[in-house]
Structures are given as structure tokens and as C-alpha cells.
Symmetry: C2
Subunit: 377 residues, 2 copies
């Protein structure tokens, strides 16, 4: 009777309202019923992403959305600049290479992120048509200055593709104001859905480039999605139950207002960081993301920590990757996770550390978290 | 996007496993399929209640079960002794009177409960055929010594009817060992179901009395339920989806072992009491139940407290009744509620007190709760 809670940086817990909606009987997608629903979903996505751009919904994971963006929107007569500060940055380098693009990567040490200045210097060469950045690099729990980078790229001919998969709906994101040409999301993060949907918001500046390029594939051809989205339809069979669920989750998000949700995530992240510091641990990142927090294990602790956290307390956390494997854990502040269970999660961290022989003062972390979260409501 | 949590002393939160089971397509109840399921449910109820007695399931609330017991098992040539220490004790007096029974009530001041000694003295008169007690009086968050009372009644010709509606599955309850003749439960408490089912466990001693009495009604005639339960069937249409859900919840409870759940509830109750005391509040009851905790509001606080707790933090708590109206709140430790959210609930109490102008040290309550709950897993 351990209540499972997803503190993983995706998937995140799905609200019961969404689960119930997705459990309703199936209907056919080439119908006015689907189009009416999809119209509302498309409006809801624009509202959440603060954009007037088309937002395309693809049945696929976030990777499908990013691949579509990189493959369709990268000029072949220019180079692609990919900011690589972790596993997802790495992946976008790989995607660009798969399509035979001429890629330069700017590697940032894990726990740091590319700066607007660094992007400006690179773009000054005139070599680049596309800049690809990860707003919140999930693997390192690190956020970059997307607003600053947006301003830099906006002043050039290049376009900016932002992996906002673990950022949209959690970190401040003003797509149009910040002039982010392509914003990609995934459903299983702040959108509070199961995995299976990617959304891609595309600016007019990006469409001009996309329209001039012969699409390198069929399923991930953004032009095909744009042609249909204006009719509130999709080129290929849409994931109907997920889109139904997205209608409900977007209604929830937009009823509150996404800015309020950003503030709540920031507070959850701050509470988690301060609680862990109070317990004698260190935050991994130098530029911590408020979507996900990465905490270094204290000496003598390894991934047995996460196993206990899950099996005894029902708290699902992510581990470290590559060099960080077995050295840290990561917990999410996205979507439906709330302050009540975040405080409880800190207690589970305390108990697990104590069980592993770490000298912790039980109650110190939860008290620190409670103080930070005082004004969340 | 406030996550609603039921800390009310019934209904309690229903596990997703149970909700999903209850959402499955309906089937007919006069079938081998139903009987096979009901056989497992009946075995599961006996296991949870630690009894070899028949356990009868009635489609109705806990009140229906208690009314059936009082109406069917009270000898008409003897008096009925009802222990009244709160709203439910009051209700059983009323039930006995509705059936024209000769009732004596032993009134305990709210926050206290009838003692075995007091029952012994009364029974020594030889006047009583039935003793009715409330194991956990929800209205006052007070528990009696049911084991002690069981021993006293067992040594007489009288039978003991125990309202275990907010006790079974939460407080220690050994039906056969303690010789409790009739144990009544309700589904929306530790059984982790929606309201709609009552169960009544009946000893052989009680059946002898019941069999000698002409049932005063049809629907609540326990004899009719007994006749069918031996065939794993019911006299009237059973609440099939609730019984399906009960199969799942009993499996969950019995897989863990009900004794472990008693221990967990006791720890949750202790943590809540100590946290509230740390925050300067007082526990109402002199014999606090571990099913539900009643906490007096500090000076200057009224039921606005509960409204804030619900609207801002999603925590549903119960208020005080009668003389306690507006003077206290009550939170549950039954069923699916867990330590993670109990610690978070304490934080919400801290925030709400602070908002209402009470000088609380934020974090003091949660730290106290975290210390108590250290060994729950």
C-alpha cells in the first residue's frame, strides 16, 4: 500500500481528470468532433506557450518533435550550431548528423550551459543557419538563459530551435516575446500527460526556411502538419486519447495561468534545494533548472538510495547519467507534483539517508522545505 | 491544480487500483462469476477482521449495518445498553428507540469513552441483553477499550454489538479473540472504497439470539443475508461494482497484513498529535483514537481554518459537531492516506494558522511529524 509518486523528470503524475478523459470511449478522428476538440487544443497550446505561431502536434515522443525541427528547419547551405551540455544536447548533435547536416557543437561542462555571449560570438562568423539549445537540460538539471539567447539569434538570419521538453509549462517561456523560432515540447512533463505527443511551435521566420527545404522524410515533415493544423486536423492518424487528455490538462493550466505555474515550480525547486543543502548535500548544477533538481549523494551513498526511496517510500526519482551515474539523484518539479508531497518527499530523503548511515537530523530538511513553500498557495 | 486529498474521517481516498476495478463493465450478479468473486471477498473480510464468523455484506451505509445488528440481535425481553460518547453513540440510541427497544444509555462526556468496569457494573444487574458500543467515536476522535469490554460481555448472556465503522482496518481488532459478537463496518473508511457497503460479522452466540427473534423488517434482516452468504450470494441485488472494488482493497490490505496497517495508522496519528502539540494546539480527546485525530483550534481561530485548508491546500478535514462546532478540526489516519502526505498536511496546517494570525514557527510541526514517522516503512 505504498502510494507511488512520480518525481521523475518525466513521466510525471497524470491528474485524475486527465486519466478519466483518456479512458472515455474512442471516437473517429476524421470527424467534426475531433476538429472541434483539436481547435481548442491548438488554442490552448498557443496560450500556454505565449505564442501566435502555429503549434503542431505530432504523435511521437519529444525526440520526434526535435528531430522534425532540426531536419526540416536547418538550411543545407549553412552550419548547425548545437549547444551540448548534457545527454539531450548530445542527442541533438546526433540527430543533425543523421541528416548529414554540417554540425558544430559547443560543449559546456555538465552543470553549466551555453551563454548568449557565446552564441553571439559564434553567429558573428555568419556560418550558422540554425542554433539548437536545450532550455532545461534534464540530464544535468541545468537551465540556460533562453531569453538572452533568443534576443541574440533574433538579430541574425539564423533561427533558434529550443528543446523546451522539460521547460515548457515549468520555466518562464515567452515564445513570441523572446523570439524563439521553434519550441518543442513533450507530453509527459509539465503537460501532465502520458508520453506519446510532441508539440512544435514554429515562427514565420522558421517557416520561410522550412518552406525552402525539401523535407527529408514524410512522417516528420512539419509542412504536412502545418497544412492540416489550419483546418484543425492532422496529416496522419492523431493519438486521439492523448489529445483528449491534453485538452483537459491545457484547460487546467490555462485556468490557473502558466505564469503562476512557473512561480510554483520555482518555489518547489528552491524548497528542494534548500532542504537538501540543510541535510548537508550539494546541488549539482551551477545554473540549476527549476524543472528538475540534481543532488549529489553524500560520501558513502550510491544508487541504493533511489531503490530505497522507491521501494519503501514510493518516491520515484531519476539517477545520474554517464559520469554522474550512481553519484546523484534528480527529482522533478513539473506538472502535477505539489508542495504537499514535495515536503513529504524530503522526509523520505531524510529517512533513506539515515537508513544508509548518513548522520542527518530528521526534520531539518522538511522544516527547511516548509519554510520556503510557505507562500505557494 | 490543487490536488484534493481526503483527510476526512470517511470518505477516504480510494486507491487507483480500486477505482479502475470499479470502472470495469458491469456484469450480472446471479452468476458463477459473481459468486466466485464474492467467495473471495467473504474470505478476505474474515481475514481482515480476524474472525471465522459469517461476515454479511449489505448494500447500504454503515448505519444500515448497525441498524440491522441492533434491530435483529436485541432480545425483546431484555434491555439494550448503549454507550453514548458522541454523535454515533447518540444515533444507536435513536435506532434502538425506533424499534421500540427498552434502551438505557451510558453517557460519557465527549472525549472520553465507556470503560469495561462500567459495562461490568451495568451487566451485573442482569437487565441487559445487548451492549452497543462505538469502538472509535468519529465525532470526538475517541476510542474505547473494546478488548476489555469484549471480555466483560463474553462472561455474560448479553451480546456485544461494536460499531467498528471507523475502527476496522485501522485500530487493533481481533474479532474472535476478543469475542466481539457483532462487528459492523462501512466501506468508505479503512476499506478504501466509496460509501455504499456495510459489513456485519456475527458470532454464533449472536445468531442464537437473532434466530429466536422475528425480524422487524425485510431489507435489514440479517437472517436473510446469512442464508445467502453461505452460497456466496446475497438476498437482494448486491452493489456489484463496490464489491468488485472491495475484492481489490481487501487483497491490498491482506497482502500487507492488517496488523501492519494498524501500526501505520497509530504512527500517523501519533505524528499528527505531536506535530499539533508542537504548534501549540491541544488534542481534544482524553482517549484519542488512532483512526481520527481531533485538534482544538487555538484562540482566535474558527472554521475559516478548514476552508483555507481545503481551498488553498486541497486538504479536506472534518469540523467539530454540536458543542465542538467551529472549535476543532478532525483529520483521518485511515486507509490509503500515507505518511508522505500526512507530513505535507501538517505543513498546510502551519500555513493556515499563520495566515489566520497565529504565531507559529513554520517547520516546527512538520519536523515533529517527520521524527515520529521515521520508522513507518
Amino acid at each position: 500500500m505504498i502510494k507511488a509518486r512520480l518525481f521523475t523528470p518525466g513521466p510525471t503524475d497524470v491528474p485524475p481528470e486527465v486519466l478519466v478523459e483518456m479512458a472515455k470511449p474512442m471516437f473517429h478522428h476524421r470527424t467534426p468532433q475531433f476538429q472541434a476538440m483539436f481547435a481548442e487544443v491548438n488554442a490552448g497550446l498557443k496560450k500556454m506557450l505565449l505564442t501566435a505561431n502555429d503549434v503542431l502536434t505530432i504523435a511521437g515522443s519529444g525526440t520526434a518533435g526535435m528531430e522534425a525541427a532540426i531536419a526540416c528547419a536547418s538550411r543545407r547551405d549553412k552550419k548547425v550550431l548545437v549547444a551540448n551540455g548534457g545527454k539531450f544536447g548530445e542527442r541533438w548533435v546526433k540527430v543533425a548528423k543523421v541528416y548529414g547536416l554540417d554540425v558544430d557543437e559547443v560543449v559546456s561542462p555538465w552543470g553549466t550551459a551555453i551563454t548568449p555571449e557565446s552564441v553571439r560570438e559564434k553567429l558573428a562568423t555568419g556560418l550558422y543557419g540554425t542554433v539548437v539549445v536545450v532550455y532545461s537540460e534534464t540530464s544535468t538539471a541545468t537551465a540556460c538563459d533562453l531569453e538572452g539567447i533568443g534576443k541574440v539569434v533574433a538579430g541574425t538570419d539564423a533561427i533558434l530551435i529550443a528543446d523546451c521538453i522539460t521547460a515548457a509549462g515549468t520555466l518562464p517561456l515567452r515564445t513570441d516575446e523572446w523570439k524563439i523560432d521553434i519550441v518543442a515540447t513533450g507530453s509527459q512533463k509539465a503537460l501532465m500527460l502520458p508520453p506519446g505527443l510532441a508539440t512544435v511551435a514554429v515562427s514565420e521566420k522558421a517557416w520561410k526556411i522550412i518552406d525552402a527545404i525539401k523535407a527529408p522524410g514524410l512522417y516528420l515533415d512539419l509542412k504536412a502538419y502545418r497544412k492540416m493544423v489550419v483546418k484543425n486536423d492532422t496529416p496522419y492518424t492523431p493519438a486521439v486519447s492523448l489529445i483528449r487528455g491534453m485538452k483537459v490538462s491545457l484547460d487546467m493550466i490555462n485556468a490557473i495561468g502558466v505564469e503562476k505555474i512557473w512561480a510554483r515550480s520555482a518555489l518547489l525547486a528552491k524548497a528542494t534545494r534548500q532542504a537538501c543543502v540543510a541535510l548537508g548535500m550539494k546541488v549539482f548544477s551551477k545554473q540549476p533548472s527549476d524543472s528538475v533538481t540534481g543532488i549529489m549523494y553524500p560520501p558513502g551513498v550510491d544508487d541504493a538510495f533511489r531503490k530505497i526511496l522507491q521501494s519503501k517510500y514510493g518516491i520515484n526519482a531519476a539517477g545520474g547519467q554517464d559520469d554522474l551515474k550512481g553519484k546523484c539523484f534528480r527529482v522533478s518539479h513539473m506538472g502535477y507534483v505539489d508542495p504537499i508531497e514535495t515536503i513529504g518527499m524530503i522526509a523520505a530523503i531524510e529517512y533513506t539517508l539515515a537508513e544508509l548511515g548518513v548522520a542527518v537530523e530528521i526534520g531539518k530538511g522538511v522544516a527547511a522545505a516548509a519554510r520556503v513553500l510557505k507562500d505557494w498557495a
